[in-house]
């Protein structure tokens, strides 16, 4: 047990923070938000130059071979800067599934280009009206010759307009639920949506898109498990990004509480204000370590191909009968997201209260983070859903 960073991990964090401070000030966030496609190609190519899109991909496909722990550390820094990019979704929902189960042709064709940042990939997972990614019914695939014709559409697809490939989940007639990679040219239509978070979001129609077995990642019909694994990775990365958003909100709050004077004193000298900042610190530290633990559990499960034992839990809890039946890392991932959803809500309530009226203005940077934190909470599963997963991993809910 050692919850400190290795020197390599420290270097990753330091270099990310230095790059983002220099190249991604709040003006860049605002510029990306008001641009046509929400994408900053210069920042993306610089990020690619730092090796970020390939951070967790295997070395033989042009990646650095690091793990989810490293991606989580990087994501904290990205969140702290409100860095807008397809990086996290591309890594966890497109590149990693291809690396895990893609065939040789798919890996050769896509992974080096994704790792190098020359291609952008995204995932189209939310059905219109669905609660979230996990609850969305898959697209329908009707048999047609050697392949299938898709029907259905997805919403809230990030960076779709600049993506060369999209990952989808489809129920293929005769084969079952499968994860597919679809080139952008084959998409029927896409249209920009107005979403609160800041990342560019699109509605994408897949009506009439033709796919074949060569587009399926892994075995046809094995998509549900692969999708669940990819979503867990995406969830952890998003929690770490969310922690970074909260970190910046805390920095802004402390700075405001030191500078702003009322009654002849800095407002941070009032305990009522100071303790809100401390509550933010306590919430963020908990969310950060829950996410890092989940990342570690996913790395361990991936490396061993078997269930990771819950880390250092006293046997009283870890040994509760039935707990080990849950998929590797499920409890840790769900715990992180369940906690972080509520924690970020509290963190941003506190941040706005400390800032007073100025935090509500568009001219202040806080709102950039507030909106992204709300988008985080509304993506990849709400608190109730993730608590349900924790409960199942605890062995509850069996008598239904």
């Amino acid at each position: 047990m050692d919850l400190t960073l290795s020197s390599d991990q420290e270097m990753l964090v330091d270099s990310a923070r230095r790059f983002l401070t220099r190249s991604w000030p709040a003006e860049a966030v605002r510029a990306a938000e008001t641009s046509a496609d929400g994408h900053d190609p210069k920042a993306w190519s610089e990020a690619a130059g730092l090796g970020w899109p390939g951070l967790c991909l295997p070395a033989e496909h042009g990646g650095s071979g690091a793990g989810m722990v490293e991606l989580a550390l990087l994501a904290e820094e990205l969140g702290r800067a409100a860095f807008s990019s397809p990086l996290l979704a591309q890594t966890t929902l497109v590149a990693l599934p291809l690396a895990w189960e893609g065939n040789a042709a798919q890996r050769t064709r896509w992974l080096p280009a994704l790792a190098g940042g020359e291609l952008i990939g995204s995932a189209a997972l939310v059905a219109p009206g669905a609660r979230d990614e996990r609850s969305s019914p898959p697209l329908e695939g009707r048999r047609s010759g050697d392949g299938w014709v898709l029907s259905g559409s997805r919403v809230l697809v990030p960076f779709a307009a600049v993506s060369s490939l999209l990952v989808v989940l489809a129920d293929l007639e005769g084969a079952g639920v499968s994860m597919l990679v679809v080139e952008a040219e084959r998409i029927a239509a896409l249209s920009r949506q107005q979403a609160l978070g800041g990342d560019p979001m699109y509605a994408v129609s897949f009506h009439g898109t033709v796919v074949g077995t060569g587009d399926v990642i892994g075995r046809p019909g094995s998509g549900a498990a692969l999708f669940a694994r990819a979503l867990d990775h995406a969830t952890v990365a998003s929690v770490s990004y969310g922690v970074g958003l909260g970190e910046r909100a805390l920095e802004l709050s402390v700075s405001h509480a030191c500078d702003r004077h009322q009654f002849g004193r800095p407002i941070g000298s009032f305990q009522a204000v100071a303790h809100r900042c401390v509550d933010m610190r306590a919430d963020l530290d908990a969310a950060r370590w829950l996410a890092r633990q989940a990342a570690w559990a996913l790395d361990k499960a991936g490396a061993s191909g078997e269930s990771a034992a819950p880390a250092g839990a006293p046997a009283a809890v870890a040994g509760a009968s039935g707990e080990s039946a849950a998929p590797a890392g499920a409890l840790e991932v769900a715990a992180a997201k369940a906690y972080a959803n509520d924690a970020l809500r509290r963190v941003f309530l506190n941040a706005h209260q400390v800032h007073g009226a100025i935090g509500f203005s568009l001219e202040h940077d806080l709102q950039l983070f507030t909106r992204r934190a709300k988008a985080f909470e509304l993506s990849l599963g709400d608190t109730a859903q993730h608590r349900g997963r924790v409960a199942e991993a605890m062995g509850l809910g069996r008598s239904r």
Binding site: L5, R281, G312, A313, A316, L331, R387
Partner: protein
């Protein structure tokens, strides 16, 4: 970054669990119960641990310890606290009173006081709080007046845990220089509780016996050989001691054990698939994970030989509130029967959930209130001091 205990540490946990299964009597419910078997049992249990070398395993070898890793110590603390602390009041000796004597004591004090602690034979209490000195501990008024090679002490202590166990010794704070700035005029004394002039009066609390006492000191004479650390520099000892104390108790481990009891209870009563029940237990489990990890963050810093002041306070903020929440939610899950106290034969789970609730009412007050912990973190965030 590694979230896993070593094979050796896991085996040590299993050894401890075997010992607990073997040694804990069926009636054991912790030390705050009206039962004269309790304190003698804790001493027997400490001797048993001492025989195996586990009582002072965290201490350096020159004081009879084994220099165990901080993670072995963490495992020991978890298993002990989860089992309602069968070491009784002596956990304080091991966690910080002993280490303070090692750090600040003379050679004579070390050889006089540490061996009985290492054998598990002596109960200490801590004379810090006073009626007018709680969070503002440095304003304490108990006076120690130098008189040749001895001190004469007069004053009153309050909320002194375990003084009526009975404790044989007390780590006592008193004002030795009333003229100096308040942090600069305090000294620490090692007081034999059998000294004439010491009177212990238990305070009846919601939680049961031994929890708290008043201690009256009337012309109590203490030799200079029982002054710990430099005269008037006792505040340094206090600050070090409080940091030890904050990571000294694995509170989350007891919460984890109670969560497990609740899971079994809702299974037995057929409520384990009610969505609200699942939601509440999952929330407790998530907060337990958070509290445990934040303790491990503080311990990881200790393992590097650094002092985790801020991290220990953040961990304590989570731990203490988790302990309270587990009691509240636990009683809620028991429903109306949750009103039955531990001495009612129909009390669900033998009154353990009642006990979890009632014992933790003062948890966010002891060893530095929640607000004091938050003040510590506020300073670390760089916020200005209150006026």
């Amino acid at each position: 970054m590694d979230f896993e205990l070593t094979e050796e540490e896991r085996r040590f946990r299993e050894d401890l669990q075997r010992l607990l299964a073997q040694e804990l009597p069926e009636w054991w419910r912790g030390m705050f119960v009206e039962d004269e078997r309790v304190m003698p049992f804790t001493k027997r249990f400490c001797s048993e641990l001492a025989e195996r070398g586990w009582l002072t395993m965290a201490w350096p070898p020159e004081h009879g310890g084994q220099g165990a890793s901080v993670w072995q110590q963490a495992v020991l603390r978890e298993e002990m606290w989860a089992a309602d602390e069968p070491r009784g009041p002596q956990y304080m000796n091991l966690n910080y009173i002993g280490p303070l004597i090692m750090r600040f004591g003379t050679d004579a004090q070390k050889s006089r006081f540490l061996p009985p602690m290492a054998r598990g034979e002596v109960i200490w209490c801590q004379g810090f709080s006073e009626p007018e000195a709680g969070s503002d501990l440095a304003s304490l008024r108990t006076r120690a007046v130098a008189d040749g090679d001895r001190f004469v002490i007069n004053g009153q202590k309050v909320w002194t845990s375990y003084a009526d166990s009975p404790a044989e010794w007390c780590l006592l704070l008193a004002r030795s220089d009333p003229e100096a700035e308040k942090h600069r005029g305090i000294s620490v004394f090692l007081l034999d509780m059998a000294t004439p002039g010491v009177t212990v009066r238990p305070i009846a609390t919601m939680a049961g016996p031994h929890e708290f006492n008043e201690v009256f000191l009337d012309d109590v004479v203490v030799g200079r050989d029982c002054l710990l650390g430099e005269l008037h520099r006792g505040w340094d000892v206090v600050v070090t001691g409080l940091t030890f104390e904050r990571v000294g108790i694995a509170r989350y481990a007891r919460a984890g054990r109670v969560i497990e009891m609740l899971v079994e209870h809702v299974r037995r009563t057929g409520r384990d698939s009610e969505p609200e029940v699942m939601d509440k237990l999952a929330d407790l489990r998530v907060r337990y994970e958070a509290a445990r990890l934040l303790n491990y963050v503080a311990i990881s810093i200790q393992a590097r030989g650094e002092v985790p002041t801020t991290e220990a306070s953040v961990a304590r903020i989570h731990n203490t509130q988790l302990e309270q929440l587990v009691g509240h939610v636990g009683l809620e899950l028991l429903g109306a029967a949750g009103q039955l106290t531990h001495d009612d034969p129909a009390s669900p789970l033998g009154g353990e959930i009642w006990r979890q609730w009632v014992r933790n009412i003062p948890t966010t007050v002891a060893a530095g209130t929640l607000e004091i912990q938050k003040n510590i973190v506020a300073r670390a965030l760089g916020l200005p001091r209150p006026a």
